[in-house]
Symmetry: C2
Subunit: 230 residues, 2 copies
Amino acid sequence: MPGFRAFEPAELRFVSSFKIGELVAETGATLLSEGKHSSHLYTLLSGWAFRYKLLPDGRRQILNYMLPGDLVGLQGSITGEMEHSVEALSTLVLCVFQRDRLHELFRKHPGLGFDLTWLAAREERMLDDHLLSLGRRTALERAAYLLAFLHQRAAAVGLVADRTLLIPITQQHVADTLGLSIVHTNKTLRKLADRGLINWLDRACEVINVEALMALAGWEGLPSGRRPLI
Amino acid sequence: MPGFRAFEPAELRFVSSFKIGELVAETGATLLSEGKHSSHLYTLLSGWAFRYKLLPDGRRQILNYMLPGDLVGLQGSITGEMEHSVEALSTLVLCVFQRDRLHELFRKHPGLGFDLTWLAAREERMLDDHLLSLGRRTALERAAYLLAFLHQRAAAVGLVADRTLLIPITQQHVADTLGLSIVHTNKTLRKLADRGLINWLDRACEVINVEALMALAGWEGLPSGRRPLI
DNA sequence: CGTCGGTTTGATCTAGTTCAACCGCCGTGG
DNA sequence: CCACGGCGGTTGAACTAGATCAAACCGACG
Protein backbone atom coordinates (compact mmCIF):
# COMPACT_ATOMS: atom_id res chain seq x y z
CA MET A 1 0.00 0.00 0.00
CA PRO A 2 1.60 3.27 -1.09
CA GLY A 3 1.54 6.27 1.24
CA PHE A 4 2.26 4.24 4.35
CA ARG A 5 5.63 3.57 5.93
CA ALA A 6 6.89 -0.01 5.81
CA PHE A 7 6.99 -2.22 8.90
CA GLU A 8 10.09 -3.85 10.33
CA PRO A 9 9.56 -7.65 10.34
CA ALA A 10 9.56 -7.71 14.18
CA GLU A 11 7.04 -4.88 14.31
CA LEU A 12 4.82 -6.71 11.88
CA ARG A 13 4.94 -9.82 14.06
CA PHE A 14 4.04 -7.76 17.12
CA VAL A 15 1.17 -5.94 15.44
CA SER A 16 -0.19 -9.26 14.20
CA SER A 17 -0.14 -10.65 17.74
CA PHE A 18 -1.58 -7.38 19.07
CA LYS A 19 -4.56 -7.83 16.78
CA ILE A 20 -7.35 -9.82 18.38
CA GLY A 21 -9.84 -9.91 15.54
CA GLU A 22 -11.78 -8.16 12.85
CA LEU A 23 -15.07 -6.36 13.13
CA VAL A 24 -17.64 -5.40 10.54
CA ALA A 25 -19.95 -2.49 11.36
CA GLU A 26 -23.00 -1.40 9.38
CA THR A 27 -23.81 2.15 8.25
CA GLY A 28 -25.15 4.12 11.20
CA ALA A 29 -23.67 1.83 13.84
CA THR A 30 -22.20 3.51 16.92
CA LEU A 31 -18.70 2.17 17.56
CA LEU A 32 -17.82 4.18 20.63
CA SER A 33 -19.96 6.28 22.97
CA GLU A 34 -19.21 9.48 24.85
CA GLY A 35 -18.91 8.77 28.57
CA LYS A 36 -18.30 5.06 28.17
CA HIS A 37 -15.11 3.08 28.53
CA SER A 38 -13.64 1.22 25.58
CA SER A 39 -11.16 -1.58 26.14
CA HIS A 40 -10.54 -1.89 22.43
CA LEU A 41 -8.74 0.16 19.85
CA TYR A 42 -9.39 -0.15 16.13
CA THR A 43 -7.68 0.43 12.84
CA LEU A 44 -10.13 1.26 10.10
CA LEU A 45 -9.48 -1.06 7.16
CA SER A 46 -12.27 0.11 4.89
CA GLY A 47 -15.20 2.53 4.99
CA TRP A 48 -15.88 6.02 6.34
CA ALA A 49 -16.72 7.02 9.93
CA PHE A 50 -16.92 10.20 11.97
CA ARG A 51 -16.58 11.19 15.59
CA TYR A 52 -18.73 13.76 17.39
CA LYS A 53 -19.70 15.33 20.70
CA LEU A 54 -23.10 16.39 22.00
CA LEU A 55 -24.18 19.30 24.17
CA PRO A 56 -26.58 18.41 27.03
CA ASP A 57 -29.55 19.71 24.98
CA GLY A 58 -28.67 17.57 21.95
CA ARG A 59 -26.79 20.00 19.69
CA ARG A 60 -24.21 17.91 17.83
CA GLN A 61 -20.74 18.83 16.63
CA ILE A 62 -18.83 16.53 14.30
CA LEU A 63 -15.14 16.71 15.22
CA ASN A 64 -13.44 14.76 12.46
CA TYR A 65 -13.79 11.98 9.92
CA MET A 66 -12.04 8.63 9.78
CA LEU A 67 -10.82 6.90 6.66
CA PRO A 68 -8.99 3.63 5.98
CA GLY A 69 -5.69 3.48 7.84
CA ASP A 70 -6.93 5.67 10.72
CA LEU A 71 -6.71 4.56 14.30
CA VAL A 72 -10.11 4.74 16.01
CA GLY A 73 -10.33 5.21 19.77
CA LEU A 74 -7.03 6.88 20.51
CA GLN A 75 -8.27 10.45 19.94
CA GLY A 76 -8.57 12.34 23.17
CA SER A 77 -7.92 9.34 25.33
CA ILE A 78 -5.17 6.85 25.80
CA THR A 79 -6.85 5.13 28.74
CA GLY A 80 -10.12 4.48 26.94
CA GLU A 81 -12.48 6.85 28.77
CA MET A 82 -14.30 8.20 25.73
CA GLU A 83 -15.11 11.90 25.53
CA HIS A 84 -16.72 11.55 22.13
CA SER A 85 -18.74 9.06 20.08
CA VAL A 86 -17.90 7.37 16.79
CA GLU A 87 -20.44 6.41 14.12
CA ALA A 88 -20.12 4.56 10.81
CA LEU A 89 -20.93 6.43 7.58
CA SER A 90 -20.70 3.27 5.51
CA THR A 91 -20.10 -0.40 6.13
CA LEU A 92 -16.80 -0.63 7.99
CA VAL A 93 -14.18 -3.30 8.35
CA LEU A 94 -12.02 -2.79 11.41
CA CYS A 95 -9.00 -4.46 12.90
CA VAL A 96 -9.46 -4.85 16.68
CA PHE A 97 -6.69 -4.37 19.26
CA GLN A 98 -6.57 -4.85 23.01
CA ARG A 99 -5.98 -1.47 24.58
CA ASP A 100 -4.26 -2.71 27.72
CA ARG A 101 -1.34 -4.00 25.67
CA LEU A 102 -0.39 -0.44 24.67
CA HIS A 103 2.26 -0.24 27.38
CA GLU A 104 3.85 -3.37 25.97
CA LEU A 105 3.86 -1.78 22.52
CA PHE A 106 5.78 1.22 23.82
CA ARG A 107 8.22 -1.00 25.72
CA LYS A 108 8.98 -3.55 23.03
CA HIS A 109 8.65 -1.43 19.88
CA PRO A 110 9.65 2.18 20.44
CA GLY A 111 9.25 2.78 16.72
CA LEU A 112 5.56 1.93 16.95
CA GLY A 113 5.24 4.11 20.05
CA PHE A 114 6.71 6.95 18.05
CA ASP A 115 4.18 6.25 15.30
CA LEU A 116 1.35 6.52 17.79
CA THR A 117 2.52 9.99 18.81
CA TRP A 118 2.95 10.84 15.14
CA LEU A 119 -0.66 9.88 14.48
CA ALA A 120 -1.85 11.92 17.44
CA ALA A 121 0.06 14.96 16.14
CA ARG A 122 -1.58 14.44 12.76
CA GLU A 123 -5.03 14.44 14.37
CA GLU A 124 -4.15 17.68 16.18
CA ARG A 125 -3.13 19.27 12.90
CA MET A 126 -6.52 18.43 11.41
CA LEU A 127 -8.35 19.71 14.48
CA ASP A 128 -6.36 22.96 14.30
CA ASP A 129 -7.50 23.38 10.71
CA HIS A 130 -11.12 22.68 11.64
CA LEU A 131 -10.89 25.19 14.48
CA LEU A 132 -9.60 27.87 12.12
CA SER A 133 -12.47 27.04 9.82
CA LEU A 134 -15.22 27.21 12.43
CA GLY A 135 -13.82 30.30 14.06
CA ARG A 136 -12.83 32.44 11.12
CA ARG A 137 -14.22 31.24 7.79
CA THR A 138 -17.58 32.18 6.24
CA ALA A 139 -20.15 29.50 5.50
CA LEU A 140 -19.08 29.21 1.85
CA GLU A 141 -15.40 29.01 2.76
CA ARG A 142 -16.11 26.40 5.43
CA ALA A 143 -18.01 24.20 3.02
CA ALA A 144 -15.25 24.54 0.42
CA TYR A 145 -12.63 23.71 3.04
CA LEU A 146 -14.49 20.64 4.30
CA LEU A 147 -15.00 19.12 0.88
CA ALA A 148 -11.42 19.85 -0.19
CA PHE A 149 -10.22 18.36 3.08
CA LEU A 150 -12.21 15.15 2.68
CA HIS A 151 -11.17 14.89 -0.94
CA GLN A 152 -7.52 15.20 -0.04
CA ARG A 153 -7.74 12.61 2.71
CA ALA A 154 -9.57 10.19 0.45
CA ALA A 155 -7.04 10.77 -2.32
CA ALA A 156 -4.22 9.92 0.08
CA VAL A 157 -5.61 6.42 0.58
CA GLY A 158 -6.41 5.85 -3.06
CA LEU A 159 -10.17 6.36 -2.96
CA VAL A 160 -10.25 8.93 -5.75
CA ALA A 161 -10.78 7.53 -9.24
CA ASP A 162 -10.48 9.80 -12.31
CA ARG A 163 -10.39 13.03 -10.25
CA THR A 164 -13.81 12.53 -8.70
CA LEU A 165 -14.85 11.06 -5.38
CA LEU A 166 -18.08 10.12 -3.70
CA ILE A 167 -18.29 11.14 -0.05
CA PRO A 168 -21.02 9.15 1.77
CA ILE A 169 -22.49 11.97 3.90
CA THR A 170 -25.81 13.80 4.19
CA GLN A 171 -26.25 17.57 4.41
CA GLN A 172 -27.02 17.07 8.10
CA HIS A 173 -23.48 15.79 8.57
CA VAL A 174 -22.07 18.77 6.71
CA ALA A 175 -24.18 21.13 8.85
CA ASP A 176 -23.02 19.48 12.08
CA THR A 177 -19.41 19.66 10.94
CA LEU A 178 -19.50 23.29 9.87
CA GLY A 179 -21.59 24.53 12.78
CA LEU A 180 -24.39 25.71 10.49
CA SER A 181 -28.12 25.07 10.27
CA ILE A 182 -29.23 22.49 7.76
CA VAL A 183 -31.14 25.07 5.72
CA HIS A 184 -28.17 27.34 5.32
CA THR A 185 -25.95 24.36 4.60
CA ASN A 186 -28.24 23.42 1.75
CA LYS A 187 -28.11 26.92 0.28
CA THR A 188 -24.34 27.04 0.66
CA LEU A 189 -23.77 23.67 -1.02
CA ARG A 190 -26.10 24.82 -3.78
CA LYS A 191 -23.80 27.78 -4.44
CA LEU A 192 -20.79 25.49 -4.72
CA ALA A 193 -22.74 23.24 -7.07
CA ASP A 194 -23.87 26.23 -9.19
CA ARG A 195 -20.25 27.22 -9.57
CA GLY A 196 -19.49 23.72 -10.82
CA LEU A 197 -17.16 22.80 -7.96
CA ILE A 198 -19.20 19.91 -6.59
CA ASN A 199 -22.18 17.82 -7.46
CA TRP A 200 -24.54 16.90 -4.66
CA LEU A 201 -26.19 13.50 -4.94
CA ASP A 202 -28.50 11.54 -2.72
CA ARG A 203 -26.60 10.80 0.54
CA ALA A 204 -23.29 11.59 -1.15
CA CYS A 205 -21.17 14.38 -2.57
CA GLU A 206 -19.09 14.31 -5.72
CA VAL A 207 -16.07 16.63 -5.69
CA ILE A 208 -15.37 18.05 -9.13
CA ASN A 209 -12.78 20.78 -8.69
CA VAL A 210 -10.59 20.47 -5.58
CA GLU A 211 -8.18 23.22 -6.59
CA ALA A 212 -10.99 25.77 -6.82
CA LEU A 213 -12.34 24.64 -3.44
CA MET A 214 -8.93 25.04 -1.83
CA ALA A 215 -8.47 28.49 -3.38
CA LEU A 216 -11.90 29.55 -2.20
CA ALA A 217 -11.18 28.43 1.35
CA GLY A 218 -7.63 29.79 1.39
CA TRP A 219 -6.43 26.37 2.44
CA GLU A 220 -2.99 25.02 1.61
CA GLY A 221 -3.80 21.35 2.06
CA LEU A 222 -2.43 18.75 4.45
CA PRO A 223 1.31 18.14 4.54
CA SER A 224 1.98 15.18 2.30
CA GLY A 225 4.46 12.37 2.79
CA ARG A 226 4.56 8.86 4.07
CA ARG A 227 2.61 8.08 7.23
CA PRO A 228 2.67 5.26 9.73
CA LEU A 229 0.06 2.53 9.97
CA ILE A 230 -0.69 0.44 13.02
CA MET B 1 4.57 19.50 42.65
CA PRO B 2 1.10 17.99 43.13
CA GLY B 3 -0.95 17.01 40.09
CA PHE B 4 1.98 15.58 38.17
CA ARG B 5 3.13 11.99 38.06
CA ALA B 6 6.49 11.24 39.66
CA PHE B 7 9.58 10.41 37.58
CA GLU B 8 11.58 7.21 37.81
CA PRO B 9 15.18 8.11 38.77
CA ALA B 10 16.49 6.96 35.38
CA GLU B 11 13.84 8.99 33.58
CA LEU B 12 14.77 12.04 35.59
CA ARG B 13 18.43 11.60 34.63
CA PHE B 14 17.49 11.30 30.98
CA VAL B 15 15.19 14.33 31.00
CA SER B 16 17.93 16.34 32.70
CA SER B 17 20.39 15.38 29.98
CA PHE B 18 17.73 15.96 27.32
CA LYS B 19 17.40 19.54 28.54
CA ILE B 20 19.81 21.91 26.83
CA GLY B 21 18.98 25.15 28.57
CA GLU B 22 16.41 27.62 29.81
CA LEU B 23 14.81 30.47 27.92
CA VAL B 24 13.05 33.61 29.10
CA ALA B 25 10.56 35.22 26.71
CA GLU B 26 8.87 38.59 27.16
CA THR B 27 5.15 39.31 26.80
CA GLY B 28 4.22 39.45 23.13
CA ALA B 29 7.26 37.49 21.97
CA THR B 30 6.70 34.96 19.17
CA LEU B 31 8.17 31.61 20.15
CA LEU B 32 7.27 29.60 17.08
CA SER B 33 6.05 30.69 13.65
CA GLU B 34 3.63 29.06 11.23
CA GLY B 35 5.52 27.70 8.23
CA LYS B 36 8.91 27.66 9.92
CA HIS B 37 10.91 24.74 11.26
CA SER B 38 11.71 24.46 14.94
CA SER B 39 14.53 22.23 16.10
CA HIS B 40 13.62 22.81 19.73
CA LEU B 41 10.85 21.68 21.98
CA TYR B 42 9.93 23.49 25.19
CA THR B 43 8.32 22.84 28.51
CA LEU B 44 6.64 25.90 29.91
CA LEU B 45 7.88 26.45 33.47
CA SER B 46 6.00 29.66 34.22
CA GLY B 47 3.75 32.13 32.43
CA TRP B 48 0.89 31.99 29.93
CA ALA B 49 1.11 31.55 26.14
CA PHE B 50 -1.24 30.76 23.26
CA ARG B 51 -0.99 29.21 19.83
CA TYR B 52 -2.84 30.42 16.74
CA LYS B 53 -3.25 30.14 12.98
CA LEU B 54 -3.84 32.84 10.39
CA LEU B 55 -5.91 32.88 7.21
CA PRO B 56 -4.13 34.35 4.14
CA ASP B 57 -6.02 37.65 4.63
CA GLY B 58 -5.00 38.00 8.25
CA ARG B 59 -8.01 36.64 10.15
CA ARG B 60 -6.63 35.00 13.29
CA GLN B 61 -7.87 31.98 15.22
CA ILE B 62 -6.46 31.16 18.63
CA LEU B 63 -6.32 27.37 18.95
CA ASN B 64 -5.38 26.83 22.57
CA TYR B 65 -3.57 28.25 25.57
CA MET B 66 -0.45 27.01 27.30
CA LEU B 67 0.17 27.00 31.02
CA PRO B 68 3.02 25.83 33.24
CA GLY B 69 3.79 22.15 32.70
CA ASP B 70 2.67 22.21 29.06
CA LEU B 71 4.89 21.01 26.26
CA VAL B 72 5.27 23.68 23.57
CA GLY B 73 6.07 22.69 19.99
CA LEU B 74 4.72 19.15 19.88
CA GLN B 75 1.16 20.11 18.90
CA GLY B 76 0.42 19.20 15.32
CA SER B 77 3.97 18.24 14.53
CA ILE B 78 6.47 15.75 15.77
CA THR B 79 9.07 16.65 13.14
CA GLY B 80 9.08 20.38 13.87
CA GLU B 81 7.42 21.77 10.73
CA MET B 82 5.15 24.27 12.44
CA GLU B 83 1.60 24.70 11.22
CA HIS B 84 0.79 27.30 13.84
CA SER B 85 2.48 30.12 15.77
CA VAL B 86 3.01 30.51 19.51
CA GLU B 87 3.03 33.84 21.36
CA ALA B 88 3.70 34.77 25.00
CA LEU B 89 0.88 36.33 27.04
CA SER B 90 3.20 37.10 29.94
CA THR B 91 6.87 36.74 30.70
CA LEU B 92 7.70 33.08 30.18
CA VAL B 93 10.36 30.77 31.54
CA LEU B 94 10.89 27.72 29.36
CA CYS B 95 12.95 24.59 29.52
CA VAL B 96 14.55 23.90 26.11
CA PHE B 97 14.94 20.43 24.57
CA GLN B 98 16.62 19.21 21.40
CA ARG B 99 13.93 17.81 19.16
CA ASP B 100 16.14 15.35 17.28
CA ARG B 101 16.69 13.35 20.44
CA LEU B 102 13.02 12.38 20.55
CA HIS B 103 13.71 9.01 18.93
CA GLU B 104 16.23 8.28 21.66
CA LEU B 105 13.60 9.15 24.28
CA PHE B 106 11.20 6.62 22.81
CA ARG B 107 13.91 3.97 22.59
CA LYS B 108 15.44 4.36 26.03
CA HIS B 109 12.42 5.39 28.08
CA PRO B 110 9.20 3.89 26.79
CA GLY B 111 7.41 5.35 29.81
CA LEU B 112 8.27 8.85 28.66
CA GLY B 113 7.22 7.98 25.12
CA PHE B 114 3.89 6.88 26.52
CA ASP B 115 3.64 10.18 28.38
CA LEU B 116 4.19 12.09 25.14
CA THR B 117 1.25 10.28 23.56
CA TRP B 118 -0.74 10.92 26.73
CA LEU B 119 -0.07 14.64 26.43
CA ALA B 120 -1.02 14.63 22.76
CA ALA B 121 -4.31 12.90 23.61
CA ARG B 122 -4.94 15.54 26.26
CA GLU B 123 -4.42 18.30 23.72
CA GLU B 124 -6.88 16.57 21.39
CA ARG B 125 -9.46 16.44 24.15
CA MET B 126 -9.16 20.19 24.64
CA LEU B 127 -9.39 20.84 20.90
CA ASP B 128 -12.49 18.66 20.72
CA ASP B 129 -14.08 20.79 23.43
CA HIS B 130 -13.14 24.00 21.62
CA LEU B 131 -14.58 22.64 18.40
CA LEU B 132 -17.87 21.86 20.10
CA SER B 133 -17.85 25.38 21.48
CA LEU B 134 -17.17 27.15 18.19
CA GLY B 135 -19.56 24.97 16.25
CA ARG B 136 -22.53 24.73 18.53
CA ARG B 137 -22.48 27.18 21.42
CA THR B 138 -23.90 30.73 21.42
CA ALA B 139 -21.61 33.70 22.08
CA LEU B 140 -22.53 33.84 25.78
CA GLU B 141 -22.03 30.10 26.22
CA ARG B 142 -18.70 30.24 24.41
CA ALA B 143 -17.39 33.01 26.61
CA ALA B 144 -18.55 31.18 29.73
CA TYR B 145 -16.90 27.98 28.51
CA LEU B 146 -13.60 29.68 27.72
CA LEU B 147 -13.28 31.38 31.07
CA ALA B 148 -14.30 28.25 32.97
CA PHE B 149 -11.82 26.26 30.91
CA LEU B 150 -8.94 28.62 31.59
CA HIS B 151 -9.88 28.80 35.25
CA GLN B 152 -9.85 25.03 35.53
CA ARG B 153 -6.51 24.68 33.81
CA ALA B 154 -4.96 27.37 35.97
CA ALA B 155 -6.40 25.76 39.11
CA ALA B 156 -4.82 22.45 38.13
CA VAL B 157 -1.35 24.00 38.30
CA GLY B 158 -2.01 25.94 41.48
CA LEU B 159 -2.47 29.40 39.98
CA VAL B 160 -5.81 30.07 41.65
CA ALA B 161 -5.67 31.81 45.01
CA ASP B 162 -8.83 32.22 47.14
CA ARG B 163 -11.17 31.09 44.35
CA THR B 164 -10.24 33.91 41.97
CA LEU B 165 -7.74 34.05 39.15
CA LEU B 166 -6.31 36.72 36.89
CA ILE B 167 -6.07 35.67 33.24
CA PRO B 168 -3.62 37.90 31.35
CA ILE B 169 -5.58 38.34 28.11
CA THR B 170 -7.23 41.17 26.20
CA GLN B 171 -10.72 41.12 24.70
CA GLN B 172 -9.05 40.75 21.31
CA HIS B 173 -7.66 37.40 22.45
CA VAL B 174 -11.08 36.31 23.64
CA ALA B 175 -12.62 37.38 20.32
CA ASP B 176 -9.99 35.47 18.32
CA THR B 177 -10.53 32.39 20.48
CA LEU B 178 -14.31 32.41 20.28
CA GLY B 179 -14.54 33.33 16.61
CA LEU B 180 -16.43 36.55 17.39
CA SER B 181 -15.91 40.22 16.53
CA ILE B 182 -14.31 42.34 19.20
CA VAL B 183 -17.42 44.48 19.60
CA HIS B 184 -19.69 41.54 20.25
CA THR B 185 -17.09 40.00 22.54
CA ASN B 186 -17.13 43.17 24.60
CA LYS B 187 -20.91 43.12 24.90
CA THR B 188 -20.89 39.42 25.78
CA LEU B 189 -18.26 39.79 28.50
CA ARG B 190 -20.24 42.70 29.85
CA LYS B 191 -23.24 40.41 30.27
CA LEU B 192 -21.16 37.90 32.22
CA ALA B 193 -19.81 40.73 34.37
CA ASP B 194 -23.31 42.11 34.96
CA ARG B 195 -24.37 38.68 36.18
CA GLY B 196 -21.48 38.76 38.63
CA LEU B 197 -19.66 35.77 37.13
CA ILE B 198 -16.50 37.57 36.11
CA ASN B 199 -14.82 40.91 36.55
CA TRP B 200 -13.04 42.36 33.56
CA LEU B 201 -9.94 44.39 34.32
CA ASP B 202 -7.39 46.11 32.17
CA ARG B 203 -5.58 43.42 30.17
CA ALA B 204 -6.90 40.71 32.46
CA CYS B 205 -9.99 38.85 33.56
CA GLU B 206 -10.93 37.85 37.09
CA VAL B 207 -13.09 34.73 37.35
CA ILE B 208 -15.54 34.96 40.23
CA ASN B 209 -17.97 32.07 39.84
CA VAL B 210 -16.68 29.07 37.87
CA GLU B 211 -19.58 26.78 38.72
CA ALA B 212 -22.07 29.24 37.22
CA LEU B 213 -19.91 29.60 34.10
CA MET B 214 -19.75 25.83 33.66
CA ALA B 215 -23.50 25.49 34.14
CA LEU B 216 -24.15 28.27 31.62
CA ALA B 217 -21.90 26.60 29.03
CA GLY B 218 -23.19 23.09 29.73
CA TRP B 219 -19.60 22.01 30.24
CA GLU B 220 -18.58 19.16 32.52
CA GLY B 221 -14.96 20.19 32.97
CA LEU B 222 -11.74 18.45 32.09
CA PRO B 223 -11.12 14.95 33.41
CA SER B 224 -9.03 15.34 36.54
CA GLY B 225 -6.21 13.13 37.73
CA ARG B 226 -2.48 13.00 37.74
CA ARG B 227 -0.72 13.97 34.52
CA PRO B 228 2.77 13.44 33.17
CA LEU B 229 5.42 16.14 32.96
CA ILE B 230 8.37 16.12 30.62
C1' DC C 1 -49.96 3.60 -1.29
C1' DG C 2 -48.55 5.88 2.87
C1' DT C 3 -44.60 7.21 5.24
C1' DC C 4 -40.05 8.49 6.15
C1' DG C 5 -35.44 10.41 5.45
C1' DG C 6 -33.15 13.63 2.78
C1' DT C 7 -33.31 17.73 0.03
C1' DT C 8 -35.18 22.23 -1.64
C1' DT C 9 -37.19 26.79 -1.41
C1' DG C 10 -39.28 31.14 0.29
C1' DA C 11 -40.37 34.33 4.17
C1' DT C 12 -39.27 36.24 8.41
C1' DC C 13 -36.33 37.03 12.23
C1' DT C 14 -32.13 37.71 15.05
C1' DA C 15 -27.47 37.00 16.71
C1' DG C 16 -23.61 38.80 15.62
C1' DT C 17 -20.91 42.12 12.27
C1' DT C 18 -19.47 46.47 10.71
C1' DC C 19 -19.00 51.28 11.12
C1' DA C 20 -18.13 55.11 13.83
C1' DA C 21 -17.26 57.52 17.81
C1' DC C 22 -15.35 58.29 22.29
C1' DC C 23 -12.93 57.48 26.84
C1' DG C 24 -9.00 56.66 29.95
C1' DC C 25 -4.42 55.41 30.46
C1' DC C 26 0.26 55.41 29.55
C1' DG C 27 4.60 56.14 27.27
C1' DT C 28 7.09 59.30 24.19
C1' DG C 29 8.94 63.30 22.37
C1' DG C 30 9.02 68.27 21.85
C1' DC D 1 5.64 70.21 31.44
C1' DC D 2 2.22 69.16 28.25
C1' DA D 3 0.66 67.49 23.65
C1' DC D 4 0.30 63.35 21.06
C1' DG D 5 -0.65 58.98 19.59
C1' DG D 6 -1.64 54.28 20.37
C1' DC D 7 -3.78 50.59 22.77
C1' DG D 8 -7.56 48.61 25.20
C1' DG D 9 -12.12 49.07 26.36
C1' DT D 10 -17.07 50.91 25.69
C1' DT D 11 -21.27 52.25 23.38
C1' DG D 12 -24.87 53.15 19.82
C1' DA D 13 -26.72 52.65 15.09
C1' DA D 14 -27.16 50.35 10.82
C1' DC D 15 -26.62 46.21 8.49
C1' DT D 16 -26.24 41.19 7.12
C1' DA D 17 -25.02 36.31 7.41
C1' DG D 18 -27.10 32.81 8.92
C1' DA D 19 -31.12 30.90 12.00
C1' DT D 20 -35.78 29.64 12.35
C1' DC D 21 -40.27 28.61 10.58
C1' DA D 22 -43.07 26.54 7.25
C1' DA D 23 -44.15 23.90 3.37
C1' DA D 24 -43.38 21.04 -0.41
C1' DC D 25 -40.87 17.59 -3.16
C1' DC D 26 -38.88 13.16 -4.26
C1' DG D 27 -37.29 8.52 -4.24
C1' DA D 28 -37.02 4.34 -1.49
C1' DC D 29 -39.25 1.03 0.91
C1' DG D 30 -42.47 -1.77 3.57
